[in-house]
Amino acid sequence: MSISSLTFERDPREDVLVARLKGDIDTSSASTMRDQVVRAAHNQLLGIVLDISAVDYIDSTGVRLLVDLGRQLGERAQQLRLVIEPTSPTFRLLQIVGIGAAAPICQTVDEAVAEVRQAAA
């Protein structure tokens, strides 16, 4: 486990892509991550669930990235859901910046997947 590296795990489940992020999301890693996620989101997907519970750090650049990602997926009629537990250190920051408007927050991956499918239907 490296301190500031961002790791990207794909967890394909049929029609929803679940990606797990770890480490820090800052200026140097944000755009790389966004490109990877966008690339993985092929057209057949109903949406993407980003599990950011294991993210230690996310600054405004990172927030911006999540907002952009939500917007880009939205343009393709795909959903974006974030999974984060309320106890996570970054939860408050995401609340402050009102991330919910761009990417709704769920507490578990299953809940998020369900929401994605519901919204698509």
Partner: protein, 1125 residues
């Protein structure tokens, strides 16, 4: 009673009176018994009279009065304390009155008068004259008076009444006759009693005698039993001690001896003996005491007692004697006898004894060992004796019987110190000294003889040996070349040998302990006559040890050295004195000759010395050439110059390159090298400068220039401080020779010095001047070049930031030295840096370096130790190739970090390098070093590492100080190799202030975050507080990176301060504000404000300062450490 029994016989001896009884002789008890019978008789008669009176109808008054009177009389007789006769009189009168009243009551019938006779017979029981005479008188008076005046009362017949006197007389006469008959019986009774009394008296006397006899017998008790085996007499020791109580045993129906013996130990035996005694046998037996606590032993003799007349057994006598003491004494005698025999057996002296008949009673072990008197039974049997012994006179004659010591002792002679030779077949001859004496008992009767013998064979042999040695010694003394004289403790001369006699020219000592016999024959070295007190023998005799006293013997003109010692025996007591005399006359003469020869030799040697010095000079300067530094060389040859040319002052002046000051080396008084800088002007030559320098301090000097080819490079000088020395042409020649060599040496040393400097400079320039300073990590390093020029170079080290707060530290040593090694080391360092940033695995970095080196630097090798320090994860990871293991100090422990050893880099195409990992703890200190630090001449590397470990434990915390401490403690004297040392400390981020200076670029964010993630929890921030403050700082840093600078890169300073539950962090850049670039940013400042309590931004001339503040929910907990991610 016995007293009375033993009194004189009662009856008078006159014949007329012998027929009559004495009267009143009854024993008191017997009399009292009879008196009581008569008293009862009186009472019964009184009752009878009363009844008869009442029956015949007498007046009651008369009868009552009579009864009262008679009862009073009986009471008086019965209880009165008056005399026997008075009481007898009362009874007599009472009884006779009863008779009288009876006669009266019955009216004087004749038969009533018989009552008087009955009473008289009864009164005879008293065996006394008084009742009889009184009865006769009473009857006579009664019958006469009543017959005369009241005959009716007395008689019923008339004839009696007519002659009362005659009837009275008749009655009294009968009474007298009755009395007479009683008296006869009474007299016979008395005789019988007297005989019994005699018999009893004799028996009592015998008993008293016997008892006193028994009581005087020691420890003896006598018991006498009758045939019924009842005790008749018990007396003696056991009675006196209270063990037997005669009063309980000797009784009429007392205990039978069976009763006492049954159940006692030995009781059955004793009973058997008693029964045998009844059959007439005498037996004796021993019994133990019947009381268990006592250990007494009794001897019991059981004897039948026989009637002296009939010889019938009438009883048994038991004589009990306590023989305990006797038995004990017998035991002790036996014991002592055994002891005595053991002593005699153990003696080394022979002992032999015989009894009065001459029979051998004792022959102890030694005597038996000597095998003499073997078959001898009696010493008096002389014939037997001569065959049985091996005794001879010392001259070998066989001893006759009467010469033998024991026989002489038997004949009453006391023999002392008779010498006897024991010689027999199969026996070694033995010489013994024998003593003998007769033995007598208390009465002076001879009861035997005893002889003792002491073996003196060995003593004789030693005496013989001593005599032989003494004669040998005196023969040796006679033959000695040195004179010897000795005296005993009395001062008498005992040795005066031939050599000394010849020296003295005399047959008697000239001087001995008693005095001087021939004055003037001995002189002291100054020609004075030698007094007795000063003579060595006298001095030694008085206890002095004399060493080499010189004495002149006049007779033959000889000189001697004399040594004297007091003589002592092995116990240290003085037994005399001895002096040895050594003739040194010839030696003296030889010494004089030798002195002359030595003077000649000295002159010759002086001539040869100069030539030798040249050799020494050459040798000196050759040694000097081997020194590498100018100072070391100067010290070497100045010392040798001083010693070889015997010059107190030596100095050398070395001319320097233009613009530098020349140096003057000279030796101080203690031999230390002094170095002075000297200015040389263009007009000066080194010689003139030298002359000027030494002018003040030396009186005479010799100065020569140092030439190297055509160039003058300096001057050399020798001088003498007190001016006594004049330097000769020869000295100049020598110094010239030396100067030439010195010039060569100096030149070579200077060249080497320059090479060393160059290599060291190159080395230094290649090594990093400033090491990384990651948050939480402090690094310090030292490099010390070797002192020898050819050994400089090769050590390399570095500390490389690897991102994410990690630091790679490396230490290596290139095989080889000098400029080439320094250059190689530079390339190696660059290679390492290149690979280090590419890989997280130290082993991989080393393997890659090896591949590069093996291919590109053929034949070159280097050792290396590479460690990656990760202060965030708190872990060390490293690998080494042929390099000393890095040491990790943790508290007072030192851990050597190493895996399996490997070959050095460049030695093989593929290296097998193993990686090790070590968890870190706050406050840990890592040290890397090269072997120059621990490898010293004459010391094991292990000892050096141990010393390093000790120094490490004692070092302070800061790496800079650690380096200084370790170098100071481990390096002494010359460094033969480069020494490098790198120390890395994990700074605990507990300080309330934090300061980070990072480049203004996006990548710096990670470093700042990792520092904050350690520092904030340590200041008491919760996990979410820490995360939020970190985001706020990240936003501020991002602002600084984006707004402050243009293309040029500068630093951003992040300073944190925690106090009273509040954290303040300042982010400061040093650029000018410009409009933000990019569109993605706008949220940053808003985030800061949302996450922090207070955000202040100030723009100054020099840049922008952002102050962030936030209160923490809880106070910092000391020592709390949270690992960041």
């Amino acid at each position: 009673m016995p007293d009375r029994l033993l009194a004189e016989p009662l009856h008078p001896t006159s014949s007329t009176r012998r027929l009559l009884p004495i009267g009143n002789t009854l024993p008191t008890e017997e009399w009292a018994r009879r008196h009581r019978v008569l008293c009862r008789l009186l009472i019964s008669q009184t009752v009878m009279i009363t009844i008869v009176g009442l029956a015949v109808g007498r007046s009651v008054v008369h009868i009552g009065a009579s009864a009262v009177v008679l009862a009073a009389v009986a009471a008086f007789a019965l209880w009165s304390k008056s005399s026997r006769r008075l009481r007898m009189t009362a009874i007599t009168l009472g009884l006779l009155s009863c008779s009288a009243q009876l006669v009266d009551a019955l009216g004087g019938v004749p038969e009533a008068h018989f009552h008087f006779f009955v009473m008289v017979a009864a009164l005879s029981l008293y065996e006394d004259w008084v009742p009889f005479t009184l009865a006769i008188a009473y009857v006579a008076m009664h019958y006469w008076l009543l017959g005369t005046f009241l005959p009716d009362l007395l008689w019923d017949a008339s004839n009696h009444q007519t002659h009362p006197a005659a009837w009275a007389a008749l009655h009294a006469g009968f009474i007298a006759l009755a009395a007479l008959a009683q008296v006869s019986a009474w007299r016979l009774n008395e005789d019988l009693r007297e005989r019994n009394r005699d018999l009893l008296g004799r028996v009592a006397r015998d008993e008293v005698l016997y008892r006193s006899l028994v009581r005087n017998l020691p420890d003896t008790t006598v018991l006498i039993l009758d045939r019924d085996l009842r005790f008749r007499l018990v007396d003696g020791a056991l009675v006196a001690s209270g063990r037997l109580q005669p009063e309980r045993l000797v009784r009429e129906r007392g205990p039978v001896i069976h009763d006492l013996l049954s159940g006692l130990p030995g009781g059955a035996d004793l009973m058997r003996s008693v029964r045998q005694a009844l059959e007439g046998q005498i037996t004796s037996l021993e019994v133990n005491d019947w009381e268990e606590a006592s250990s007494s032993v009794f001897e019991v003799l059981v004897v039948p007692l026989r009637d002296t007349g009939t010889a019938d057994v009438i009883g048994v006598l038991l004589r009990v004697v306590n023989i305990t003491v006797k038995r004990r004494l017998e035991g002790r005698v036996r014991h002592e006898r055994a002891f005595l025999e053991a002593v005699l057996e153990s003696l080394n002296d022979g002992v032999m004894a015989c009894d009065a008949e001459g029979n051998i009673t004792l022959r102890n072990r030694t005597m038996r060992d000597w095998n003499t008197h073997e078959t001898l039974v009696s010493v008096l049997n002389t014939e037997d004796y001569e065959n049985a012994t091996h005794l001879h006179h010392p001259d070998g004659r066989r001893m006759t019987a009467d010469e033998v010591p024991l026989v002489r002792g038997m004949s009453g002679e006391t023999v002392v110190g008779q010498e006897v030779l024991l010689r027999g077949e199969g026996l070694a001859d033995r010489i013994i000294i024998s003593n003998a004496l007769p033995l007598h008992d208390h009465d002076g009767n001879q009861i035997g003889a005893v002889a003792t013998a002491h073996d003196i064979t060995e003593r004789r042999r030693l005496e013989e040996q001593l005599r032989a040695e003494r004669s040998f010694l005196s023969a040796v003394l006679e033959q000695l070349h040195d004179g010897v004289i000795a005296c005993d403790q009395d001062g008498n001369t005992t040795v005066y040998n031939r050599a000394l006699r010849e020296l003295d020219g005399s047959d008697t000592p000239i001087i001995d302990a008693h005095g001087v016999h021939k004055p003037g024959m001995l002189l002291t070295p100054d020609g004075q006559p030698l007094s007795r007190e000063n003579h060595p023998l006298s001095r030694a005799f008085n206890g002095e040890v004399v060493r080499d006293q010189e004495i002149i013997h006049v007779r033959h003109q000889r000189v001697t050295l004399q040594n004297g010692v007091p003589l002592t025996d092995s116990q240290g007591s003085r037994i005399g004195a001895m002096v040895t005399v050594h003739d040194i006359t010839e030696q003296r003469r030889a010494e004089i000759a030798e002195r002359q020869r030595a003077a000649e030799e000295a002159a010759r040697e002086a001539a040869e010395t100069q030539a030798q010095r040249i050799e020494q000079i050459l040798e000196v300067t050759d040694v000097a050439l081997k020194h590498s530094s100018v100072e070391a060389m100067a010290r070497g040859f100045l010392h040798r110059l001083r010693d070889t040319l015997r010059a107190p002052f030596t100095g050398v002046l070395l001319d320097a390159a233009p613009g530098e000051r020349s140096r003057l080396y000279r030796l101080g008084e203690a031999g230390e090298l002094r170095e002075d800088a000297v200015a040389i002007t263009s007009t000066d030559t080194p010689e003139t400068v030298m002359a000027r320098v030494v002018a003040g301090s030396v009186a005479s000097h010799l100065i020569l220039p140092l030439h190297l080819g055509e160039d003058s490079i300096g001057a050399v000088c020798i001088g003498d401080t007190d001016g006594a020395r004049e330097f000769s042409v020869h000295d100049r020649h020598l110094l010239t020779l030396a100067a030439h060599r010195i010039a060569l040496g100096v030149s070579q040393a200077q060249t080497q010095e320059r090479q060393r400097q160059a290599a060291a400079n190159l080395q230094r320039s290649m090594l990093p001047s400033a090491l990384v300073d990651e948050p939480g990590v402090t690094v310090a390093a030292r490099y010390l070049p070797a002192e020898a020029a050819e050994l400089v170079g090769g050590d390399w080290y570095d500390a490389i930031p690897l991102g994410d707060g990690r630091v790679g530290v490396v230490m290596g040593d290139v095989v080889g030295s000098g400029l080439q090694a320094a250059a190689l080391m530079g390339r190696t360092l660059a290679t390492l840096r290149a690979y280090a940033v590419q890989s997280d695995s130290p082993a991989e970095v080393i393997c890659r370096m090896n591949a590069t080196m093996f291919r590109l630097e053929r034949g070159e090798m280097t050792t290396v130790a590479y460690v990656i320090v990760d202060p965030i994860r708190m872990v060390l990871c490293g690998a080494s190739a042929a390099h000393p293991a890095p040491l990790l100090r943790r508290g007072s422990r030192v851990i050597a970090c190493q895996a399996r050893p490997s070959l050095p880099l460049g030695s093989a195409p593929n290296l097998c390098v193993e990686e090790w990992e070590q968890a870190l703890e706050p406050g840990d200190l890592l040290v890397l070093y090269t072997d120059g630090l621990v490898e010293h001449r004459g010391q094991q590397i292990e000892d050096g590492v141990a010393a390093l470990s000790r120094a490490l434990v004692e070092s302070p915390a800061a790496p800079e100080e650690v380096c200084d401490t370790i170098l100071q403690q481990l390096l002494h004297g010359d460094r033969s190799d480069d020494v490098s040392l790198l120390a890395l400390a994990l700074a605990p981020l507990h300080a309330p202030t934090l300061e980070l200076r990072v480049p203004a670029e996006p990548e710096s964010g990670a470093r700042v975050r990792s520092a904050l993630r350690q520092w904030l929890p340590a200041m008491g921030a919760t996990e979410s507080e820490s995360a939020e403050i970190t985001v706020a700082v990240g936003e501020a840093l991002l602002n600084a990176v984006e707004h402050a600078y243009g293309l040029e890169t500068h630093d951003v300073l992040v300073q944190g301060h925690a106090d009273a539950g509040q954290v303040q962090i300042t982010i400061r850049d040093f650029g000018r504000w410009r409009a933000p670039r990019g569109k993605e940013r706008g949220q940053g400042t808003a985030n800061m404000r949302a996450l922090m309590d207070r955000v202040v931004r100030r723009r100054t001339e020099n840049g922008t300062i952002v102050e962030l503040r936030r209160a923490l929910s809880c106070q910092p907990a000391a020592g709390e450490e949270k690992e960041g991610r």
